[in-house]
């Protein structure tokens, strides 16, 4: 098994973030991530960014009262 370079890891980043890494390279990815603080940090902070952004949809804040009133008026008219 040839170790992955950082460049090769970077090319696989989207697959890693989407949990779509092909089975035959999965072990090499894991090894690289556990040994390379730069790539390990990159993947961890990308994952954290995605999780935190996705959380925006947990509960949409209510509409401001004046906006809600204008929209209601428009729909009623």
């Amino acid at each position: 098994m040839t170790p992955l370079t950082c460049e090769e890891l970077n090319a696989l980043l989207e697959d890693i973030l989407n949990d779509e890494v092909e089975l035959h390279v999965r072990a090499e990815v894991e090894i690289h991530l556990s040994r390379c603080p730069h790539c390990g940090g990159l993947v961890a902070s990308c994952r954290a960014t995605i999780t935190i952004t996705r959380a925006l949809s947990n509960a949409a804040p209510p509409l401001p009262a004046d906006l809600e009133a204008r929209l209601r008026k428009r729909c009623a008219g």
Partner: protein, 208 residues
């Protein structure tokens, strides 16, 4: 009642279509926030939300139960926001020079300041993350810094959770174009938000 009668009764007991009030209460905030993220300003988002709500209210009688409603609303909102932006862009072309929408700005992230983001734990799902108002604002401001074509893909994928093939269809893009834009948008969002994360005690804070 025989089992056969029971089945017939159950099949016929479709829930009534939602009322305009229910649509307003349950969906107006989602429509508005999606439109606002895609368009980047309050006034355009209000226009689009008004148009979408009016379309829904007119078609309410066609919805039995609301299983199909959220998906339909999502699609209608995306289409309305794209059409609105196209109209705005063609107006702007006549008035001012338009910048290159395909270039990601490479300006620095805002200084971390007082707003910090708690780094989610590895096992955390988005549902486990609770955002304070100022944290939401910070994330929304970072999204607003993405140019339109990147923002659309990012908002649909990473805020709305839409699958890449569906995004490709909605935006009229190839799947590889969606993946490529998402990749660049994610890296830019990480650049903008990572300085605000609390240090990662597990990996010693290796973010760079």
């Amino acid at each position: 009642m025989s089992p056969a009668d029971e089945v017939t009764t159950t099949a016929l007991a479709l829930p009534p279509p939602p009322t305009a009030e229910e649509v307003f209460r349950d969906y107006a905030p989602r429509i508005y926030h999606l439109a606002r993220r895609m368009l980047g300003n309050d006034a355009d988002a209000e226009d689009v939300t008004g148009d979408v709500l009016m379309q829904v209210v007119r078609k309410l009688h066609t919805f039995r139960g609301d299983a199909a409603l959220p998906t339909w609303l999502h699609r209608v909102t995306v289409n309305a926001a794209l059409a609105h932006r196209e109209k705005r862009a063609s107006r702007a072309k006549h008035e001012t020079a338009v910048g290159d929408e395909n270039v990601l700005d490479s300006g620095p992230a805002d200084p971390p300041g007082a707003v910090r983001l708690n780094r989610p734990k590895v096992k955390d799902t988005p549902a486990d993350v609770v955002l304070a108002q100022e944290q939401r604002k910070l994330i929304e401001a970072a999204i607003a810094r993405l140019p339109g074509p990147f923002r659309d893909v990012y908002v649909l994928a990473d805020v709305e959770g839409t699958a890449n093939p569906d995004i490709a269809e909605m935006l009229g893009l190839s799947l590889s174009a969606v993946k490529s834009r998402l990749h660049r948008a994610r890296l830019r969002m990480r650049e903008l938000l990572a300085p605000h994360f609390e240090p990662d005690t597990a990996t010693g804070g290796n973010d760079r």
